[in-house]
Symmetry: C2
Subunit: 260 residues, 2 copies
């Protein structure tokens, strides 16, 4: 019998580091797969579709992954607005700042696009963001649209350094409308609640695996899951010593984890 | 003898309301002019040059104004970096997010343009802002550039409503670099200190005139000036009742103010 029925696994810093492979991660996923343990990749990336994420894992990192195993704040936000509007979603409307991964998830729900007086404004990372988009989002929220931020990550790494993330883009709109967005992605519990309902697993039998205390581990703690911190990415031993709420487990590499 | 030697006068809400004239304002400035009282227009608008601001006042509102009477955060920021770098300013460099009014003031100092490792990053309102500009600003500040925000106004009015102001644009970069900008415009005392030094007036003999408690009156209070609140714009009697630091004077319209 395995320790956990379901693994929720972070990507960057856990499954790979940017373009660099983590061989222990590849082996870890192979062992989950061999033991028929359920696993999902839980990423805060909203710019790509599940197909693109799974393709990157399998083609560039030789990690066994299908699109159905990928959970993003884009999907979770789509789930959130489906709950919000129910069967009448096609009679409601949204304005979205974001990349194709976010827009495709949102508009696949059947919600209408509306730039003037939408019911909901959803803001995520958008490499083509302009003042005009910020203006439309601000005016719509001031007119009463519900304001969702996909995820609060202030930065993300690229080849030049730490560049602005979704949380930075969202903060411009928060300042302009003078209130905070409702966030969906890690560390919010919403994305885990969505994943559990969507994929039909029992959170009490699941574990959250990640390298970043502030997103992955806090998300597990917020959702009431056991947590497994792996020191192959952002968080260091010194960071964790300072935290009052510790991860359930701490390991140097995924090679140190026995799935049985 | 007049009550004050120098008047520092706000524009929108005080001299006009958007495109709407305020006849009492036109008359007030005429009386200052007739009495040979020194007056300057102190605006947080960074998008226009002093020539454009003076032109709007005289052509569209029949208010006696010359470019030399216009003080903006663009000019004050240019003054601030001149103080910072002194005679060696032409050996230093800046990256600027902003409109022509800001860029022309900054690069007229002789400082060089640098998108990669500038000494200072200056962020203001920019209707053509893009993710790429935010990325350049963020990376430069993270590399050690000094971070200046022209002014903290979260919103500005346009014909569609309250749209994002400089403060909102700046907040994106603040979130991405995880620290606050040094602000120059109202309500900071910096812009008054600059104006006094640049124009050679005595702040103890000056009064700040404006309609907005949070920008105009706070600026006067921060700079140690007497203040005159006029109820023709943003702030209401109810707003002022709540404030522990009151304006020196409160009037319904500039017709109620005697310059002698």
């Amino acid at each position: 019998m395995t320790k956990y029925q379901t693994y929720l696994i972070d990507l960057d810093g856990t499954m790979y580091r940017g373009k660099e492979k983590i061989p222990e991660a590849q082996d870890f996923v192979k062992r989950l797969n061999d033991q028929n343990v359920q696993y999902y990749f839980l990423t805060n990336n909203t710019t790509q579709t599940p197909e693109q994420v799974a393709n990157n894992l399998s083609k560039n990192h030789q990690i066994i992954a299908s699109p159905e195993q990928v959970i993003t704040p884009s999907l979770a936000t789509a789930g959130y607005i489906k709950n919000m509007f129910g069967d009448e979603i096609t009679e409601h409307s949204a304005y979205v700042i974001g990349e194709f991964g976010l827009k495709s998830a949102i508009f696949n729900t059947g919600i209408q696009l509306n730039e003037v007086d939408p019911d909901v404004v959803i803001v995520g990372l958008d490499y083509d963001v302009t003042y005009h988009k910020f203006e439309l989002a601000t005016l719509a929220i001031k007119r009463g649209a519900f304001f969702i931020g996909t995820n609060a990550d202030t930065n993300l790494p690229n080849e030049r350094g730490l560049v602005p993330g979704a949380g930075s883009v969202i903060s411009l709109v928060e300042t302009a409308v003078q209130h905070k967005a409702k966030y969906i992605g890690k560390p919010e519990a919403d994305i885990v609640d969505f994943a559990a309902a969507y994929k039909g697993f029992d959170p009490s039998q699941a574990v959250m695996v990640g390298d970043n205390y502030n997103t992955d581990i806090k998300c597990g703690l917020n959702a009431g899951l056991d947590t497994l911190l792996v020191y192959t990415g952002v968080s260091t031993h010194e960071d964790i010593v300072k935290q009052s709420r510790k991860p359930t487990y701490q390991i140097e590499s995924l090679a140190d984890w026995d799935v049985e």
